[in-house]
Symmetry: C2
Subunit: 579 residues, 2 copies
């Protein structure tokens, strides 16, 4: 036994006790005749006092981040720190041991550190000692626990599905694992347990969940990880509303337990409503600033941009009529960025009743501008932005501008949370390059209307739903196809030959022959959910040992070369002409 | 909504209610004017009655394992079945829908099935419908939940460690994953999160656990899986007793919560005691029949087998003096099997005081045989077996014979559970082929006495402990090395060059420079723990989608070939001359 207490629990009620503590030397201050040390462990910080005979020795032989154990008496502090639970006491040390010395850490272990991302990742075991990162790890643990409790209490069984499965090229790229005992053959790591959870429904498991590692070999963008964690769920004998109610309950429960407040009932938008009102299928509802379509109101004034446009809409930024030329130019540049791709931005400064400054005032009279402002629900002092063009592209661009204005007006507070459902997604997406449809969700999502799917696949809607919080998609799911004929039809529309479909998904198609129940489910991005609840943008801060944007673990230096013997045993070789 | 209730909850208190149920047609009986159907879901079985206008239709259009939903009234059964909770009621169906038809399943879905292992694995989604397998899946869920609750309540954080790590050839073979974005380089799948959990201790996480998938590319023996699940745990600032107390608490808690009884405090044996008393480091304590050494008592009687032996010991099988020649011959054959490798077996039938039949009665007088029997604590009616030879080999052979006798005497009841700890393991094992030491546990286990390690490594004992239940090793762990110099010394003794050690474990050796706390932990085989608690020998019955002994998943047909495009993207090729 190295300690009688941890560094976070001693308070005034322990005064007079003889205690033993162990931990890391966080701060050390030499006051001449005494040394103060803040001893740190996972639980907190306790102030140690080394005086008299221990002064000289502790002055020289204890350094920063040394691991020490001490024995001493709890006394009341004269100079109390009410910010921490242990701030009213200190320990007068009577003996100590150095359990392990430490080199000086390569960056400071405070919440605000001088260590860059790369250095912190290389020494992640030091980075985690920082309170801010340690709290994230704790949050993740607590969140997982709440999720498991809620789902278990609601009759879900956590069932582990395999990691070594089979490659199915539909979708993102698989990571593969050569099989030594089956030469020339490969396992693949799962992108999700989708087919297995459907098989568990066919197996009669009724309610399944799993907090599960998934893998995607994608070209990594910022804040994507090759391995990530999902809360994966599936239910039998359910409609879309049953699933939505169950998981709205989960998310509300999490907010109550972890954040201490009830988000209330979630709003629900169809995909079309979300696009029309917010220019995105994942609206950030922490602020209003809705898109208003004005296509029919503004045509016929000889303004070619409007007259040629399929779609014209505007947003109104409250109290921004005083924006300078420079500020507006910045926003024009913003919408012209390649990621957004708009050709221009029209503004109306609503300075007063019938008093406007606008980039289109040579085409529109004051009355006409007034009508536009009224249509968009603007009031005096607002700044109106209008965009025109192809419908979906223009909605998306205006949606991006809306978010940018939300940022500028500080309407996107990380401590406010507005969850919502988006439903009625398109079933398919046409890919112009490949000249084929792809499943918007995945090939197992059921269509709302089978006759629309047959006659006009592009118009088919899916029984699919996304959970969005603060503009971020946290989860998505669908009611699945459980009829083998519809599943076959779906594979056909997606361009699978019968042979290909059988090769990749034969086991599932076969299982549909043996009494598949109606079923549906959802999967949540657990890393992202942690980040949202933690109030952060970066999922890396919520993963104990993340990889960088190149998929490398800088601490263990992975991936790495393997030995020729390993390659030989696996029966594979590395192409020397690899470019 | 497909149902108002599930098939396991309706009882006499629901009589008169109008209900809707959905599930699978388990059994169907045609009684002439009415059809009885046992409708099955995860929760139970409810009897449905189709009569009057529904009789003819349901007779022809509903088959076995069809998925149906019904609406009807709960009535009291005349012929009650008190074996199931719903056995006192039935549903008079007034309407039904066929939600999905089914082909007849390829094997019966009863607890005792006519399906062979291979067929069951190919149709695992049907196999899981069998109550006996479904209960295993439920047990596994409940067990995981209890483990998480106990550990979380004791301050452990569940922290996810990466799956894509780096190959470290020490130990078993790694599965590797080619990296597309780092051509020629590979990730490896973890054999255990050993180094990461140690890094989490250095990171100050204090108490860590994880129920985690691990991977070993071994030549599979019966009941080994290439991917398996561990309960992996680590604690800081602990001694061996702290770890043992914490996890004895866990195992006792599991038995109380899952099996409804307290195992009581666990016995503790040193490795040497276990070998001396039971001839194994994982004794089955459900029965006594201890080994008794008699080396010094029986030498010098001109019996060469004894006189030449390093070690002689015996066991006494209660009330087996009446064993026939044939029975004894079977046991002689048993110990001569290559896996056991004994050259022979000596017996003494203790038929009465001073009355023996024995294979050595020409060398020993009745008094001498009496002395041997007394030494081994035999009583009249017992059968004594004696073996002689090299010490460890003879102990192990006698230990195997002891287990065989336990089986024959039905002393190994699957509903009795006797957990124990084995401690003080040897640190190292000498490998005669490679002429080097291997770590018995792993290279991070601390020695009990560093001077023994230096002067006579073969004699060094480890701060290591195993948890054994009913003769099966369920978990093992150790207090780790936290001193960088001892770790370096350990790598040296294991024959690592400094370069090799740094290449494979440099990140850990480096981390030891920055204040590693004393720490230790344990890992439990979760699949095995489930099987033990379920009273089964086979872990496959406790894994939702297991692989067969060749590492193949017969349902999804994995591993499988991948496309040339995938190989090209990964920059690898398959050796055509692979034998």
């Amino acid at each position: 036994m190295y300690r009688t207490h941890n560094c976070g629990e001693l308070t005034v009620s322990d005064i007079g006790k003889k205690v033993e503590l162990a931990g890391w030397v966080f701060h050390k201050r030499d006051l001449g005749a005494m040394i103060f040390i803040d001893l740190r462990d996972r639980y907190g910080i306790t102030q140690l006092v080394f005086e008299k005979s221990l002064y000289e020795q502790s002055k020289t032989d204890i350094g920063r981040e040394y691991v020490i154990s001490v024995s001493g008496n709890v006394v009341e502090r004269s100079n109390k720190n009410f910010k921490i639970p242990t701030g009213e006491i200190e320990i007068i040390v009577d003996s100590y041991h150095i359990l392990n010395p430490s080199l000086p850490p390569p960056f400071t272990l405070e919440n605000e550190t001088d260590g860059g991302e790369e250095l912190r990742m290389k020494y992640r075991y030091l980075d985690i000692r920082r309170n801010i990162i340690k709290k994230n790890i704790e949050l993740r643990h607590n969140l997982a626990r709440e999720v498991r409790n809620y789902l278990s209490d609601n009759g879900f069984w956590e069932i582990e599905t395999p990691c070594l499965i089979k490659s199915t090229p539909e979708g993102a790229r698989d990571f593969v694992v050569p099989s030594r005992t089956n030469p020339g053959k490969f396992y693949a790591l799962p992108q999700s347990p989708q087919t297995f959870k459907q098989l568990l429904m066919i197996a009669g498991c009724d309610r399944y969940f799993q907090i599960v590692r998934c893998f995607r070999d994608e070209d990594l963008r910022a804040d994507r990880q090759p391995e990530f964690t999902q809360i994966d769920c599936e239910m039998s004998f359910v409609t879309q509303n049953d699933v939505i109610n169950m998981f709205e309950g989960l998310i509300r429960d999490i907010f109550i337990k972890i954040k201490g407040f009830d988000t209330g009932k979630f709003q629900k938008f169809s995909y079309d409503e979300a696009m029309n009102c917010y220019g995105t299928d994942k609206p950030d509802l922490r602020f209003e600033m809705k898109l208003t379509e004005i296509t029919e109101k503004v045509k016929g004034k000889n303004f070619k941009v409007f007259d040629d446009a399929e779609y014209i809409a505007g947003i109104s930024a409250k109290n921004c009529a005083s924006y300078s030329r420079k500020q507006i130019d910045e926003l024009v540049d913003f919408v012209k960025k390649p990621q957004i791709g708009a050709s221009g931005l029209i503004y109306i400064k609503y300075e007063n009743i019938n008093n406007f400054k606008s980039s289109i005032d040579k085409y529109f009279t004051k009355d006409e501008l007034q009508n536009i402002c009224d249509e968009i629900n603007s009031t005096v002092g607002d700044l109106i932005f209008i965009m025109a063009g192809e419908k979906e592209k223009t909605q998306k661009a205006l949606g991006e501008l809306r978010l940018e204005m939300g940022n500028r007006l500080q309407l996107r507070n990380n401590n406010t949370f507005v969850p919502l459902w988006v439903t009625d997604f398109p079933l398919l997406e046409w890919n112009e390059t490949d000249k084929r449809f792809y499943a918007k969700h995945h090939p197992f999502t059921s269509p709302q209307d089978i006759s629309v799917l047959k006659n006009d696949p592009a118009k088919a809607k899916a029984n699919a739903y996304d959970l969005v919080i603060n503009g971020i998609e946290i989860g998505g799911g669908s009611i699945r196809i459980h009829d083998k004929n519809i599943q076959k039809q779906m594979f056909e529309i997606l361009g699978f030959s019968e042979e290909e479909a059988n090769k990749q998904f034969g086991f599932l198609i076969n299982a549909f022959e043996y009494g598949a129940p109606p079923h549906g489910g959802i999967a949540f991005g657990f890393d992202r959910l942690c980040a949202i609840l933690g109030g952060s943008e970066s999922i890396r801060d919520y993963i104990a040992f993340p990889k960088n944007n190149a998929g490398r673990d800088l601490m263990i230096e992975s991936p790495a070369e393997i030995s020729q013997q390993q390659l030989d045993e696996l029966g594979i070789c590395i192409k020397s002409n690899f470019k």
